[in-house]
Amino acid sequence: MTLGSFVVRNTFRNKRRSVLTMISISFSLLLLTLMMSIWRTFYLDPGTPDAAKRIITRDRVSLAFFLPAFYRDKIRSIPGVVAVAPMTYFGNRFKDDRAANAFAQVATDPEEYPKVASDKVIPADQLLAWQRDRTGALVDVELAKKYGWKIGDRITLQSPYFPVAPELTIRAMYTIDPPVRALYFNTKYLEESVDWFKGQAGWYITQVDTANHVAPVSQAIDETFRNSPQRTKTESQQAFQLSFVATLGNVKAFILSICGAVVFTILLVSANTMAMSIRGRTREVAVLKTLGFTRQSLLAMFVGEAVALSVAGGMFGVLAATGAIQWLTHSSLAIGIPAGMRVTFPTMLASLLVAATVGFISGCLPAYNAARINIVDGLRHIG
């Protein structure tokens, strides 16, 4: 019998205890993996190569203020700019006030927006149909699936910001991975319906030629409008999206504190189990020592047991998290969950590494105590 199989056998000798410990650890690691994935999506994910070339220009003071239409041509004249599209947030209500029915509705320019958002794939004939119909709409395929929309269907939108209820015809659908459940319609249609909105846009989205030009072009845009009545704030699309996350509060500290609590919980659970397991084996340890097992190998055996147990629990937790996120991002229940969220291989590895480390630390003290047992005392021990 090798040391390895000895460890494995011992790990599962008290099946109930091992299983309970594993379940406990797996739930903690499920949470840890979820938190790490959220962190990665918010702060580490560089996004698609196309998204990395997009920048957003908005009013310096507040997103609530519209920018004049002539800003668009000024942005277009800056070297490095490929395409500029006006964007205006119309609202997110659909049918009723329920959050489950909310999706973003944006007014934009059908001619130029597809050039900026080149990662949204639209069939050529549909795109042409959308560009030709002023009251047409472009929707996400997933969104269309949710509501059973077909090309040519008519829908009516409502907005808390604009006193109109535009009636739109679905002319085109786009696919993008991960899905962006949104609807786009012609800003001209909105301008015609709302007098005071003429010649304005909520913000401008710009495509630059290479990712390296994001910073200099952003600076150049803000510099252009430095002395204009409305100064601008230009940043990468990712920074723009992150600014919304930031309004939720100190998200980083929030995630970190939950992770801390989870890791500490695993440590306690695992240490508890090892203490119980080793305590019941005092006499056995003495026998092993009599047989000639050294302190080191006993120590290695017990620590190995702890690591095996927590890694096994960790694997279930990571798998559960992967499944949960997969299900969440594809279910219509998921509101406000970034569609790009997924458990990557490095995240999985990191989770398992945490499990292994915690298992190692938790096994050390009880194992050390066990390895130190005096043989005679141990043999005499009545467990």
Binding site: R17, L20, I23, S24, G249, T265, V269, A275
Partner: protein, 387 residues
């Protein structure tokens, strides 16, 4: 006959290490739950304590927040002459036309920029909000580019001390005073003169909202209906208190996250507690058999072990509450779902929160202890005595 509780207490004390570690595990779960519940309690407090039941808020019909409102200033004189409005200190009807905008301010701790509500008001606006007390400096003066900030804005954002200049609109605004709004939603606002603000944001000739102070609750209701029912005005009246009560939906994201996190952690803790209790039962096989021989019934054994598990959980709950108490009153902010601006609130560990935490721990202890206790009660006496 029941087994005395001191038996369980002494057993927990006997196995100190195990008890402590399991209780700490439960404590951590309880801590997380308290943290999230205290956030929600604080947020609800901010909205529920906001607004005066005598103030009637007037918005454009169809708009739900002051930010998305906006109506013609020509309508304002009509509002001022409506019956049932209280008199201000000058004997005039107590009303205030206001401009509300959202500006971006950088957080002091460098964790990003946040939307903050700026409110331009008429002099009566201050009179209508007696809950806001000046704690430093003076109120802004009409016709001056001056603002007063709430205490929490001063604490959380840079350039918000008395004497500092805030940059927004068409230039800088001098901070002349700091007010305390007692944890209400005003706690997240910056106030100034309405005309100055409107001209800075090119919104002269309009107001985003108007406030009317009614003489009593009955006339407040009448005033609200009168404004809403007048077809020419195309305005909507609502009691200010109701307006803020509706915004408690801002806590929804925290609530959802809180429930998910607490639930997952609770399941982990339940299994850990189960483990501990199974071990307790296993160690005491012979002892339990002896108790049975003496004459304690199976239900008595079952109850005793469930009680022991509950005691363990209670210990965890107490530790969790103690761990969280230092954070009581800590200020934080989140995005208001209705106005998209930051709402500042304090963590509040209320009696309800503490009570709920204890209940939460007891549920964990009960679920975790039931199976092991059942196991203990079902043991065969003879086998156990021999083991």
């Amino acid at each position: 006959m029941a087994i005395p509780i001191s038996y369980n207490v002494r057993n927990l004390v006997l196995r100190k290490g195990l008890t402590l570690m399991t209780a700490l595990g439960i404590a951590l779960t309880v801590t997380t739950a308290i943290f999230l519940m205290a956030l929600i309690a604080g947020l609800n407090k901010a909205f529920v304590s906001s607004g005066n039941p005598l103030n009637v808020l007037v918005l454009r019909k169809g708009s739900e927040a002051e930010l998305s409102g906006g109506f013609d200033a020509a309508l304002y004189p009509t509002l001022k002459t409506l019956p049932g409005i209280a008199k201000d200190s000058h004997g005039e009807p107590m009303t205030s036309g206001e401009w509300v905008v959202v500006i971006i301010l950088p957080r002091k701790d460098g964790t990003g920029e946040v939307n903050v509500t700026v409110r331009g008001m008429m002099p009566d606006g201050l009179e209508m909000r007696p809950s806001a007390k000046l704690v430093e400096g003076r109120w802004f003066q009409t016709g001056q580019r001056e603002v007063v900030v709430s205490k929490s804005i001063r604490d959380r954002f840079s350039h918000a001390n008395i004497g500092d200049s805030m940059e927004f609109g068409k230039g800088s605004w001098k901070v002349v005073g700091v007010f305390d709004a007692g944890g209400s939603a005003y706690e997240s606002e910056v106030w100034g003169d309405v005309n100055q603000m409107a001209s800075d944001f090119d919104r002269q000739g309009g107001y985003s909202s108007a406030y009317l102070r009614a003489t009593d609750p009955i006339s407040a209701e009448a005033l609200k209906n009168r404004v809403s029912d007048d077809q020419r005005l195309k305005l909507e009246g609502m009691i200010e208190k109701d307006y803020y009560a509706k915004q408690t939906s801002s806590g929804a994201p925290i609530k959802v996250i809180g429930i998910v996190v607490a639930f997952i952690m609770a399941i982990g803790s339940i299994f850990a507690a189960m483990n501990t209790m199974y071990a307790a039962v296993a160690y005491r096989g012979r002892e339990i058999a002896t108790l049975r021989v003496i004459g304690f019934s199976r239900p008595a054994i079952l109850t005793s072990f469930v009680l022991e598990s509950l005691l363990l959980a209670l210990l965890g709950a107490a530790a969790g509450i103690l761990l969280m108490l230092p954070f009581n009153g800590m200020q934080t902010g989140t995005s208001n779902a209705v106005t998209f601006s930051e709402v500042v609130f304090a963590l509040r560990i209320t009696w309800q929160v503490a009570g709920f935490a204890i209940l939460f721990a007891l549920v964990m202890g009960f679920v975790g202890g039931l199976a092991p206790a059942w196991h203990a009660a079902r043991q065969n006496i003879l086998n156990a005595l021999r083991g």
